[in-house]
Point group: C2
Chain length 347, copies 2
């Protein structure tokens, strides 16, 4: 351990730490086209580009086994990596899975975990091609690397959004976050009381969104079929605000998002009301939706309008106009990234 | 967590668990040429094959921060992944690095860790192209994926060894294990006593082998220059016996290894004597050498003899002859895999 000066990691935050650590790293091989800074790295292999993305999930930080059964956890862990390949407009093809497990887990637990991962991989046509299994002194750690391919001219980065581009999202937002709130509330209510089952009736969609998210390969397919090439794209893991600001910063543009255009499911709205929360705040900052956020040229307006499951929520502006949210009553606020951040959050 | 039947993971062991979990998995994409079962997965991309290998290292299991400074740890973590690409006769090109860190680590610690990783990558011409940084409730977890390329007809698997092939190893064996013994002994002796420095004089090589192992890209280069194409190859991470038995099982052959041919450094022998250990046992089962173990056609005998740093230690036999070790006094024993196994070892 380093002696002398000790600066807490929280002072930099997750993205700051990555930037700091990777400062000055240069790509040297002709096959390394794009390194750190997007949803996936792009490696140049003749004819096709290869996409690589990786995630490390730690028990107690990324998941709580009070809520998750291990099959759902495996499904989700694989899905969120697959989602990153789609977010580059790529096709996921292979995955490696590494697990570190403590003694409180048994073979059947690992079977469940793996079954969930295999289910997600099968749904998306992904081959599991390697990995590592080892022990842990405490808890479960899951590391997944997903690899995919894309044609060079089809890859979508975060930095391509242009003034007047339309901002689009797939599906609806905030439900995964409300699902987590629901799980935490029911867990608190029934803690320690046996034979009482939590009441999730009428809120199944929220649970599903939290526990078994989709990776939106269907949207990637529809966009290709409609001949729409997004100018920038990300998947929404940390919340709409946070991701949109990423796109704007990396593209050096501003944005204008309309509150009444943000897609929210009925169950999300009901649950927010019950919990006395602002549903727009939940949709903007909730995270874990794994929907696609992307920008398209304004000339694609009609094509986008025709695709089911995609909503126009605003447009890209010149950078000096900042990041604006226009509310239902026509007031304007600055969008802020308040997404979940594993390294700055106090735990 | 699974209810009902609970079988401890130790009953299967590491390799058994992997086999069990991956049973029935099929490769479906044309680009997935070779999946689980070797040092790296082989993906088919036109003209060149891509090699992918991944490792997950957990504090307290794979490393002890009493012995390691973080820079050396980073160096070693990167090196052992790079070594896996060489073990396929490939060229490492890219790496992704994921870190989960608990609050007892600071930014400077992570800088040190990363500096070590970057040093190893620079030495081997590898670009760091991605990763993930997150928090952990306890300790440090490191997940690395290394990607490389090879020509299709040059890739060396574990299953290609043939009767009469010569068995070769690079460097010398057992020193990394003796280095660990040394560190543990000095730690026990001086525990709690301040101002007393452990005495490592005359044993620097053992420490270096444990703390800063090499990945033998130089050997891969020499083999190519000499026109030698190994028939099977692995890097030695779990001990010579264990790895050689892997090659034999996967190639369906036997082997015959001569004790007096196993390369052992002078410091390794001295330290074994001091600790009252059998030096051959250390060399056979010690692990963490990261030397290359490979087999070549007998017609390459003279070429191999001319390459510095490679030793012939025996030959491949028909499978019914088993795994034989011929001792200095011409007795014959069965080789057994007693290497370090993270999942069966009691901790």
């Amino acid at each position: 351990m380093q002696k002398g000066k000790r600066t807490p990691i929280a002072t930099l935050g997750e993205f700051g730490l990555i930037d700091h650590l990777t400062e000055g790293i240069e790509l040297k091989n002709p096959s390394s086209l794009y390194g750190i800074g997007d949803d996936a790295a792009v490696l140049h292999y003749p004819d096709k580009e290869m996409l690589v993305t990786t995630d490390l999930l730690m028990e107690g930080v990324h998941f709580n086994l009070v809520y998750y059964d291990l099959k759902l956890l495996g499904y989700k862990a694989a899905t969120v990596n697959i989602s990153d390949i789609y977010a580059m407009n790529g096709k996921p093809l292979q995955m490696t899975i590494s697990l570190a497990v403590s003694k409180r887990f048994c073979i059947e637990d690992m079977e469940q975990l793996y079954a969930g991962m295999r289910m997600a991989c099968e749904e998306h046509g992904v081959d599991i091609v390697g990995g590592d299994t080892t022990s842990s002194l405490t808890g479960l750690a899951i590391s997944i690397t997903c690899i995919g391919e894309a044609d060079k001219d089809k890859i979508v980065y975060r930095n391509g959004a242009k003034d007047t581009n339309l901002i689009c999202v797939s599906g609806d937002l905030g439900a995964a976050y409300m699902g987590l709130q629901l799980l935490e509330r029911e867990n608190a209510v029934f803690k320690g009381e046996k034979d009482i089952e939590p009441d999730f009736s009428g809120k199944e969609y929220l649970l599903q969104r939290q526990l078994k998210p989709d990776a939106r390969g269907d949207i990637i397919k529809k966009l290709a079929e409609a001949g729409v090439q997004p100018t920038a794209m990300m998947d929404i893991s940390d919340g709409l605000s946070s991701e949109l600001i990423h796109i704007c910063k990396q593209s050096n543009v501003g944005c204008r998002v309309y509150e009444d255009r943000i897609p929210i499911d009925y169950q999300t709205a009901v649950m927010a009301e019950e919990m006395n929360m602002n549903v727009t705040t939940c949709a903007l900052n909730g995270g874990e939706d794994y929907e696609l956020l992307f920008t398209v040229p304004i000339t694609d307006h009609d094509k986008i309008e025709d695709i089911e499951g995609i909503k126009l929520i605003g447009h890209i502006t010149r950078p000096e106009l900042g990041y604006a949210l226009v509310t239902r009553d026509d007031k304007e606020f600055e969008l802020k990234a308040q997404g979940w951040n594993a390294l700055t959050e106090e735990k």
